[in-house]
Symmetry: C2
């Protein structure tokens, strides 16, 4: 295998030269994840963990950056001996000391404690989460990614039910439902370990979903977490939608609706933290900082409305009308006293607390 040098943030990394990851490549480094790692480093700089575990480290890009750029005491774990060897070399090259362990991450996580645990798998994170929960300290931070977006977004509902113990929905806001299923899954795993979960920052891209959340053993946090895991009902004929509790689902009349969940129905990011994150990412050392900072700023605006976004074109299809300009819809909704914002999840998305009838009233 050939290697090349790349620079990410303030860190120099030796990585396999075949940038497009192939199944048989023994060491995994994905250049498309640079934005994700920029965000991860920025989150670590803001949350200041003393100990940080990159539990599926590959050649160590994320963990070594956190050691160098956020000053944490970093542990890297990977089952691939070639990856761990390369990670050790990369650490030395960057003048940072890291602990690099060649083992199954669940074995290590089951017997250790960290302030920050990051789970960055290729595929779903579910099989690592219980071990991660046992390893993260109360008031610590958990970073979780999922790359099986097709399961979470409802292309393969059976796979989502099996892995995430939740029903997805291929609707106009499919990726928000997917992100909320992922958040809900993490919250439910946290509750097994007597932790409440509070999202700090979450975002979706075409290829992965990502969340950073604080876990806390305090009774208030646990209670709040439990309150935020519920269900989603959705009607395809007019795109009406709402979050409901299990009891509301039973008591209400939802004939003609589809059900998704259980999923997270609270804010998927903390506004205050996300604004600080946007400022941090605007610093010049982040290679993808400009884009990432813009995403964070938009995410902070989105938290005012709890209802999943509407896709303008899908709304127009229900009335067989041609779509108006986005700005017109935003202006009109605000003029009528509703909240309305764009969403980082979809260029045609409208996040609003207006009932669906109000929005379709503006169309055609």
């Amino acid at each position: 295998m050939d290697y090349v040098s790349v620079k990410e943030g303030e860190t120099d990394l030796v990585v396999p030269s075949s940038f497009v990851p192939k199944k048989r490549d023994p060491v995994f480094y994905n250049p498309h994840m640079e934005l994700s790692r920029d965000v991860g480093v920025a989150v670590a700089r803001l949350t200041k963990p003393v100990t940080y575990c990159d539990a599926l480290s590959g050649s160590g890009a994320r963990g070594i950056r956190v050691a160098k750029e956020a000053g944490a005491k970093v542990t890297l774990i990977d089952l691939n001996p070639v990856a761990i060897e390369l990670a050790r070399k990369n650490a030395v090259e960057n003048g940072v000391e890291v602990e690099a362990i060649h083992d199954n991450c669940n074995t290590v996580l089951s017997s250790r404690k960290f302030d920050f645990v990051d789970i960055d798998p290729f595929g779903p994170p579910v099989r690592y989460l219980d071990a991660a929960m046992s390893a993260v300290r109360s008031q610590g931070v958990l970073g979780v990614a999922a790359t099986d977006t097709s399961a979470l977004c409802g292309t393969y509902p059976g796979a989502c039910q099996r892995k995430y113990d939740a029903t997805p929905l291929r609707c106009d806001c499919f990726n928000e439902v997917g992100l909320r299923i992922l958040l809900g899954y993490v919250a439910r795993a946290a509750l097994r370990f007597s932790y409440g979960m509070t999202p700090l920052f979450s975002h979706v891209t075409r290829h992965y979903m990502r969340l950073y959340a604080r876990v806390d053993r305090a009774g208030g946090a646990v209670k709040e977490s439990r309150k935020n895991v519920n269900y989603f009902v959705y009607r395809f004929s007019d795109l009406d939608r709402r979050f409901v509790t299990l009891n509301e689902l039973a008591e209400g009349d939802f004939k003609g609706y589809n059900v998704a969940g259980p999923l997270w129905t609270g804010p998927y990011s903390d506004v205050d933290f996300t604004l600080r994150l946007a400022d941090e990412l605007a610093q010049p050392q982040y290679s993808k900082g400009k884009v990432a900072s813009e995403i964070a700023r938009l995410v902070s605006e989105e938290q005012g409305v709890a209802v999943p976004y509407f896709n303008l074109h899908k709304l127009c299809e229900t009335k067989a009308a041609s779509p108006p300009r986005m700005q017109f819809v935003f202006d009109e909704l605000k003029r009528r006293g509703f909240l309305a914002s764009r969403t980082h999840m979809e260029p045609l998305g409208i996040r609003t607390n207006a009932p669906v009838k109000e929005i379709t009233g503006l169309i055609g």
Copy 2:
């Protein structure tokens, strides 16, 4: 600490003399669990695992009996060094070779494979199940106990929601709902690891619930498992009840009903296996075999009806009537063409496929 010798099945064990377990006792041996261990040994003799892991072994009573009486290659794990030392001595005394590991069981389970994994905790099993799933081979057997029956049965609904990610119900069949929540939880954990789960034998007592289930990676088993995790609706005014899917819950009108679940709605024991288990337990070497065999025989009869049992006295309370004789109710229901049996879960329990109106029609 003082020790005494006891004989269980064909195995001689040295155990702490303070039989009533206290929190500060360093080695755990519970004489009230002898029936549970008789059943466990019988299940092992019928399923013939080559490798068996007693993952929370205490002083080794269960695992050493399985080594001696079922001939399996046994691994014992306990975090308590005194317990493991005693387990080693007990193995030598009984002339069996066992592997006794002093460690966190999740650490060991994450990196090993076994044909049979038994999780026998003091409290809930949930934090061990993901590790157990990663350790049990396809077509292997999982034994799982829970002693936090007050959470599963709905005395502490918040604790059940937190730990088992399910809503319990303090109704007339509270312990069946609890057992089905436990089974449902194990099935959902199995699905995370691409396993379907088929219960072999489950039973409830006042102090614990127990299940033995086969896990299988085959597509058919996975699909069947998913179909069997659903919800339970229950009306306190007339004790009407039924299992419903998530979609039925949304589409139906269940105003005035309470909802429990998700829970296992399939048979909670395999009739064929349970009858063989009853025969096995009737052998003279089992100290509690007679009682255990009777329970197994009753459990096998119960599997004909999928609806949770009715409590005759609670039914009578809804009509402010005095209760008829149990036998009269069974005879009348059968005469009208319904199935009806007793249940091992409750002396006043009636397991029947008759609608609640048919049963209350026989009262008062």
